[in-house]
Symmetry: C2
Subunit: 220 residues, 2 copies
Amino acid sequence: MATLASLKRAGKVVCIGRNYADHITELKSARPKQPFFFQKPISSILLPGEGPVIRPRGVDMHYEVELALVLGRRLKDFNAEDEKSALEAIESYALSIDMTARNVQNEAKRKGLPWDIAKGFDTFLPMSKLINKSAIPDPHKIEVYLTVNGKVRQDDSTGLMLFRIPRILGDISKVMTLEPGDIILTGTPKGVGPVVPGDVMRAGIRVDGKELEEARIEVA
Amino acid sequence: MATLASLKRAGKVVCIGRNYADHITELKSARPKQPFFFQKPISSILLPGEGPVIRPRGVDMHYEVELALVLGRRLKDFNAEDEKSALEAIESYALSIDMTARNVQNEAKRKGLPWDIAKGFDTFLPMSKLINKSAIPDPHKIEVYLTVNGKVRQDDSTGLMLFRIPRILGDISKVMTLEPGDIILTGTPKGVGPVVPGDVMRAGIRVDGKELEEARIEVA
Ligand SMILES: [Mg+2]
Ligand SMILES: [Mg+2]
Ligand SMILES: [Mg+2]
């Protein structure tokens, strides 16, 4: 069973890019024909109370709020049509912020270089407490939101995902075997933007309009 | 102390790109002003006897032989000038093959997408046994080689690295804290090329002209 501490021993953190149409538009990115993904190192994980997020010098740092899955089963060549098994493979959820060095990422894109530096700095993955599966009956029917200094910046339904969780697990596991404890970030809705030191980010999840206590992130 | 089995529980595998001038030339890549790096998932590790390397359908699969370091210390903002501490931070060595889906990587470069799929398929990281530090008195003064079906394809001195180990550890650890057990791949010399199912790769290390038994990789 995953615990908060065990998140930092995850075998890998795999993140889906461009999984909400309006976020693709705001970054002027191309819409992917299939899910693509990248890794964040486990050294970037920031658990509740471990803040602040450290902005590396010269970095234009953006937040991206995302629903995270913690897996409970090994998946290899998973059948994306099998929605039931996909949900069964999830052990718990968490909320996460995929912090991104946007200027570093833009330069990497321009030069055709890997994204690992832009995505992988220490503290670049704030996470909430673990969320019991029973609290999220349908992961495609919740709202994730993020505020900066009290202003709402992101607030959308996970129903807007271009590629839903079974497809995500199918595509990743055709490349990399997924193991129990692995963490999957499912992409960010529109509204990403910069934060500077001193800004306070708060993020959360609503299920049927009701705030999930354990999903709250508050980090400077 | 790292063991062969513990490699698959490494916190991360970080790989340096473009670290030998002649390899940069052969791929028509730009010479980096500073080391850049990417991750391979630990699920891609293939220990001795676990072969073969599986070629995913439609993939042009290339070998890249590389000296790997297994760390014994935590490093954060490591000082690249401190050659002595850099070598002390290494717990052991291994030889590795950074298998790469070259056509997938080329498309990722063209589109500005992450390299994780191209580099991260299951079986894409064959490794040798662990090599005791005492067997490699100077990691910048050994030869790494790789043959395909008995023909020598790569054979160069690690003295040709553009960025040496202290600099590599410095640059990575300014982004990501490195932890004991983390694995670092130091880049590949010239001579990379395709392999197809049935090809047999053999790779090894020579120290002062003498073959290191524990560094041998033989994989189909
Ligand atoms: Mg691990
Ligand atoms: Mg993201
Ligand atoms: Mg390589």
